[in-house]
């Protein structure tokens, strides 16, 4: 079963493999996964000490590879979520729009 966690409008999906064309970079500092347009609140990913994590941005969403240790995603309004070792897709929420058919949720 795929592990799915949701922090408000952000999805954290543990997946088996990333698309072939994704290029990962080493994560050295905190990563802003998503920022609220109105509130400016951040979904902020912080790696734990000595964690080895790489990431890739894909059309404003993220792939995250945690090879060692773990990462925590925090947000001022939500409880924090811990991600253990594994490959994750970190996505956003979408709404229907009759013209664009789909647009990301504006928060």
């Amino acid at each position: 079963m795929t592990i799915q966690k949701y922090q408000g409008d952000v999805s954290l999906i543990k997946i088996e493999k990333a698309p072939k064309n994704i290029v990962f970079k080493k994560l050295n500092k905190d990563l802003v996964v998503r920022e609220g347009e109105i509130t400016n609140h951040l979904h902020l990913l912080t790696k734990t000490k000595e964690a080895e994590i790489s990431y890739a941005n894909f059309l404003d969403e993220w792939y995250l590879k945690i090879e060692k240790g773990s990462a925590v995603i925090t947000h001022p309004e939500h409880k924090e979520i811990t991600l253990d070792e594994g490959l994750y897709f970190i996505g956003k929420q979408w709404e229907y729009d009759e013209i664009e058919k789909r647009r990301e949720v504006q928060d």
Partner: protein, 406 residues
């Protein structure tokens, strides 16, 4: 090394939080502000600037625009700059400031035309204030703040440091940084970014609040640096460094409710000249929308068509979801047995541009402890499928099955 707090010291933490929250909206002392800017420039190795005080960041920006238009002739600028001595500065500041301000208030808002703007863009290419701004930043951050921080770390036990971080800094952060600084900064940035570069010092309030408390419990700082840092942050909430001039702004009056920017009767952030921003429970609203919501003169259609979901949720909370759903002719299309996953509702009274009725996934948000309304397509009739569409789970060919929702 300080390893623990006395009971009295612990009881003082809320007082220090409140002290810095209050200072964020306390009027600046003009003399002290001019001195703080001068001292900071001196520390940067720059000449004391002329300080011009605007009644709001926008006003300070307009003064700077006007000034830059006047002095775009560099020869004139040099001549003017050379003629200004310390004695004249204050008088000139006051005269300039009050005269320009009255001119601006009466004329500039309406007459600030494209010519002035285009002149400004040319001025913006001059990099002097870029350098000043970055210097200012590096001076504050790398020199003052880091040094003060080192002193703090050397004198505070790690455990106590993290305890204080949780009790004091986080609270100051949530209020002054997350709320005030970020909100104001982003709104000002969107309004001023093409016109000028500015520096908003509210960012430092949680730091200086912490240092201030640390000093109270006995941490020794370099007094000169501490005072320079503190005075600058208290007295200079907003600055546009421009050549030999520093345009600064008065502070706003700020209204809070439960640690969030909030007011139903006026702007939650309001400067003396009337510039300000409206908030409801920390959510920013443009004036017209804020007024319609707070006076309850908004229709269900207007509420459900608000594009920003945070504003939509807040408006629904204000008017009441049941009332709005009733007004919009709501009909339940699907309900999931797990109530938190929500319902699909159709609002028969609200049509989109294609003539279809609006449908929403009405799901429970555990953090808000309330319902959120996410628009779904008119053919959506299943809660789980709606969740899958909202998070685009079809990309991974998986069903909506969360192990955690927060």
């Amino acid at each position: 090394m300080i390893t623990k707090l006395t009971k009295k010291q612990e009881q003082k933490i809320p007082e220090y939080i409140q002290k810095w929250v209050d200072l964020a909206s306390q009027k600046i002392n003009k003399k002290k502000a001019i001195k703080a800017v001068g001292d900071m420039y001196k520390k940067m190795g720059e000449k004391k600037p002329i300080v011009i005080i605007g009644s709001s960041p926008i006003n300070a920006c307009l003064l700077k625009i006007l000034f830059s238009a006047f002095i775009q002739d560099s020869q004139l600028y040099n001549q003017l700059n050379n003629q200004l001595n310390n004695q004249l500065n204050n008088q000139l500041n006051n005269q300039l400031c009050s005269q320009l301000r009255s001119q601006l208030d009466s004329q500039l808002y309406s007459q600030l035309d494209s010519q002035l703007r285009s002149q400004l863009r040319i001025q913006l290419r001059i990099s002097v204030y870029n350098q000043l701004d970055s210097k200012l930043y590096s001076k504050l951050y790398s020199k003052l703040c880091n040094q003060l921080n080192n002193k703090l770390c050397n004198q505070l036990n790690n455990q106590l440091d993290s305890k204080l971080n949780n009790k004091l800094c986080n609270q100051l952060d949530s209020k002054l940084y997350n709320q005030l600084n970020n909100q104001l900064d982003s709104k000002l940035y969107s309004q001023l970014k093409e016109k000028t570069q500015f520096y908003l010092s509210y960012w430092w309030y949680s730091w200086i609040g912490y240092y201030d408390y640390a000093q109270y419990i006995g941490v020794k700082f370099d007094e000169d640096k501490f005072n320079l840092f503190k005075e600058f942050i208290i007295q200079v909430p907003f600055i546009i460094p421009y050549k030999g001039i520093a345009f600064i702004s008065e502070k706003p009056r700020i209204l809070w409710r439960e640690r969030k920017l909030h007011s139903e009767i006026d702007m939650a952030i309001k400067y003396p000249d009337g510039y300000g921003l409206h908030f409801l429970d920390g959510i920013y609203f443009e004036e017209k929308l804020w007024e319609k919501i707070t006076t309850r003169k908004i229709t269900a259609e207007e509420v459900f068509k608000i594009e920003n979901i945070e504003q939509r949720i807040k408006a629904i909370q204000y008017i009441g979801g049941k009332v709005l759903e009733k007004e919009a002719g709501s009909k339940i299309i699907d309900s999931h047995p797990n109530k938190e996953y929500g319902q699909i509702i159709e609002l028969k009274g609200i049509k989109d541009s294609l003539g279809d009725s609006y449908r929403f996934l009405k799901a429970y948000d555990p953090s808000k402890k309330d319902w959120v309304y996410i628009r779904v397509s008119p053919d959506t009739s299943d809660v789980l499928k709606a969740q899958e569409k909202c998070y685009r789970l079809d990309r991974f060919n998986i069903k909506y099955n969360p192990v955690k929702r927060t």
